[in-house]
Amino acid sequence: MNIPEQLFYTREHEWISVKDEVGTVGITDHAQKELGDVVYVELPESGSAIAAEEAFGSVESVKAVSEIYAPASGRVVEVNTVLADSPEILNQDPYGKGWIIRMHLDDTTELHTLMSAQDYQRYLAEEVGE
C-alpha cells in the first residue's frame, strides 16, 4: 500500500498536501483500490466554497459511488478537468496526476486534526484491516 510521507490523511481516505495556504486534494491508493476501476468523477465548480468534512464531489466505479470529503475548509481554486475524460488516472496515479482539486485553505491549523502517513497506516491496519 502506497502511503506517501509528506501528505495528510482523512478517515474517509482523502489526502491533502499544502504549499503556501493552497492544498491539493485527492483520494488515497487504498480508496482507489477499494473502488475498483473509476468510471466517473463528479467535480465541484472552481470558485465554490467547501467546508471541512463535507462532501464536495464523488467518485464512481461501475457498481459503487464514493463521496469525496473536504479535508479542510476553503475555496476551490482549480479542478483537475483531465479526470472528466480520463477518470482512469485516479486508479493509475492517485497521488500525482490523479489529484482532484486545489483549494485555498481558510485556516491551515485545521490540518492538525488530520492523520500523518504513520497514523493513516495504523488506521488502515486497525479500522480497515489492511
Binding site: 466517473y40 463528479e42 464512481e60 466505479s61 461501475v62 457498481k63 459503487a64 459511488v65
Partner: protein, 442 residues
C-alpha cells in the same frame, strides 16, 4: 395443481432430507399467534374453460374500441396494432425473462432496448433516452424532479394545458418535497402565452413543463418558448401524450426542449383500459447522469465482440439508495419492445404516412365542425369543440349509434362544461366522421 411439479413421493423425500415430518414445519419461524388457521376465503380452483368463460362474459359487459368507432383520445389512442407485435412479444424468450442483470444471457433484451433507445432519441431529437418509465404521467413527474435537480430551483412552471391527470400525478410526486407549482397562462389560440412565461420564469422558477400537442390538441410553439427558457438558464420539459405526432411534427429536441417525457402507448400498445403503457424519457447528453431509470449501453466482451449492458447504474436505487435519481426498479420493458417493433414495422416512411393520415383525417372532421372550434392554434389529431348541447348528451346519442364520443371537459374544467376534445385516428372512416358530425350537430 398444474403449476407445481412435485409428486407426493418427491415431497416426502425432500422433507426427509430436511428431517421434517410435514411441510407445515417449514413455517415454524412464523409465531403460532399470527399463523392463519383457517383456509383462505378464496373460491376453489376453476378449470381453464371456466376461467376463459368468466373473462369472455365480462368482456361482453364492456364497450370496446374494437367494435365501436372511437373519437376518444386524451392520453390513450386507438391506433392499429400490427400483427407482428403480438407475434414477437408472445415469445417466451422476451416475456418470461426479467431485467437483464446477467448480460451474457440477456443480449436479446439488451440489444432490443438499445435499438429502442436509439429510435426514441431519433424521434425526440434528443441525445439519449432511457429504457422506459411506467407511463407518460409518471415520466412527466420524473422529468420535473430531474429538472429541479439540474437547475437547483424548486419552483416549476406548468402549462395549464398539461393533461389534468398528468398534473395530478405530478402534484402527488412533489407534494412533500417543498416544490412550488405555478401555472402559466393560455393565450386565446390555445397555446401558452409567451409573455406569461417571460414574466414568471426567473431565479426561483427554472423548470418549465409544457405539453405539445397539448391537452386541447393544440401544437405549442416550442421554439419560441425554448428561447425564453434558455435565456433564463432554465430547463424545458416537453410532455407528449400522442407520441405519433413525433412522426410528423418537428422533434422537440431540435426546437430547444431539454427533456421529453411522454406516453408511448400510440406505438403498438393496445388501449388496455389504461395500462400497461409506456413512459418515454429522453434528454440532452449533458444531463444523462441525472436521468431516472435504466439505460443500456454498448461495449465489448473479453474477446472484443460487440455486446450490450445496463450502464450508468450508479444513478439508481440499488446502488445510491436514498440519493438515487429515482426509486424506479422494474420498468415497462415489454412495452418498450412493443414500441420498438412498432416503430421498426412502420419505419422511416410508414410512421410519417400514418401520422399524416391522422392529421388529414382530423382536419377533415374539423372542416365538418368548423363552426364549433374553440381554439385557432394548429393541431395534430385532436381538437376542442364547443357543443350545441351538453357533451354528455351528445355522447349518449353517439353511443346509441355505436360511436364512442369525445372527452367532455366539464369534469376537469368547470368553465368548459360545454366543450369536448375530439380525437381522430386512422381507425375511424370518413363515413363514421360524417355520422359523428351529423349526430353532433343534432
Amino acid at each position: 395443481m398444474r403449476y407445481i411439479s412435485l409428486t407426493p413421493e418427491e415431497r416426502k423425500q425432500m422433507l426427509d432430507v430436511l428431517g421434517l415430518g410435514s411441510a407445515d414445519e417449514l413455517f415454524r419461524s412464523i409465531p403460532a399467534a399470527v399463523r392463519l388457521t383457517r383456509p383462505l376465503d378464496v373460491p376453489s380452483a376453476m378449470s381453464e374453460t371456466e376461467v376463459v368463460n368468466y373473462f369472455e362474459t365480462l368482456a361482453r359487459e364492456n364497450t370496446s374500441a374494437q367494435s365501436n368507432a372511437c373519437f376518444l383520445g386524451a392520453g390513450a389512442y386507438n391506433h392499429f396494432v400490427p400483427t407482428v407485435i403480438d407475434s414477437i412479444i408472445s415469445r417466451s424468450e422476451f416475456y418470461t425473462a426479467y431485467t437483464p442483470y446477467q448480460p451474457e444471457i440477456s443480449q436479446g433484451t439488451l440489444q432490443s432496448i438499445f435499438e429502442y433507445q436509439t429510435m426514441i432519441s431519433q424521434l425526440t431529437g434528443l441525445d439519449v433516452a432511457n429504457a422506459s418509465l411506467y407511463d407518460g404521467s409518471s415520466a412527466t413527474a420524473e422529468a420535473a424532479l430531474m429538472a429541479a435537480r439540474v437547475t437547483g430551483r424548486k419552483c416549476i412552471l406548468v402549462s395549464p394545458s398539461l393533461h389534468p391527470e398528468y398534473r395530478r400525478v405530478l402534484e402527488t410526486y412533489v407534494r412533500n418535497l417543498n416544490f412550488q407549482l405555478e401555472e402559466l397562462r393560455q393565450a386565446p389560440d390555445g397555446r401558452i402565452d409567451r409573455d406569461s412565461l417571460e414574466a414568471q420564469i426567473g431565479e426561483n422558477c427554472g423548470s418549465v413543463i409544457i405539453q405539445s400537442p397539448n391537452f386541447f390538441g393544440v401544437v405549442e410553439d416550442i421554439a419560441a418558448l425554448a428561447q425564453v427558457v434558455k435565456a433564463a438558464g432554465g430547463v424545458l420539459v416537453v410532455a407528449v401524450t400522442e407520441a405519433l405526432s413525433l412522426g410528423l411534427l418537428q422533434p422537440p429536441g431540435d426546437l430547444g426542449a431539454d427533456i421529453v417525457a411522454g406516453e408511448g402507448q400510440s406505438f403498438g400498445i393496445p388501449l388496455g383500459f389504461g395500462g400497461p403503457y409506456l413512459g418515454l424519457f429522453a434528454c440532452r447528453d449533458q444531463y444523462k447522469r441525472q436521468m431516472p431509470g435504466r439505460v443500456v449501453g454498448e461495449t465489448v466482451d473479453s474477446q472484443g465482440r460487440r455486446g450490450f449492458v445496463l450502464t450508468l447504474s450508479t444513478r439508481e436505487q440499488h446502488i445510491r439508495r436514498e440519493k438515487a435519481t429515482s426509486n424506479i426498479c422494474t420498468n415497462q420493458g415489454l412495452c418498450a419492445l412493443m414500441c420498438a417493433v412498432f416503430l421498426a414495422t412502420l419505419g422511416r416512411k410508414g410512421l410519417r404516412e400514418l401520422a399524416e393520415q391522422n392529421l388529414r383525417k382530423a382536419h377533415y372532421l374539423r372542416s365538418l365542425l368548423a363552426d364549433h372550434l374553440v381554439f385557432s392554434g394548429p393541431f395534430f389529431n385532436e381538437f376542442t369543440v364547443r357543443c350545441p348541447e351538453s357533451p354528455e348528451r351528445i355522447n349518449e346519442r353517439l353511443a346509441e349509434q355505436g360511436i364512442i364520443g369525445g372527452l367532455p371537459l366539464g369534469r376537469y374544467y368547470a368553465e368548459r362544461a360545454d366543450q369536448m376534445v375530439v380525437c381522430v385516428t386512422e381507425q375511424v372512416s370518413r363515413t363514421q366522421m360524417d355520422e359523428f358530425a351529423r349526430i353532433f350537430k343534432g
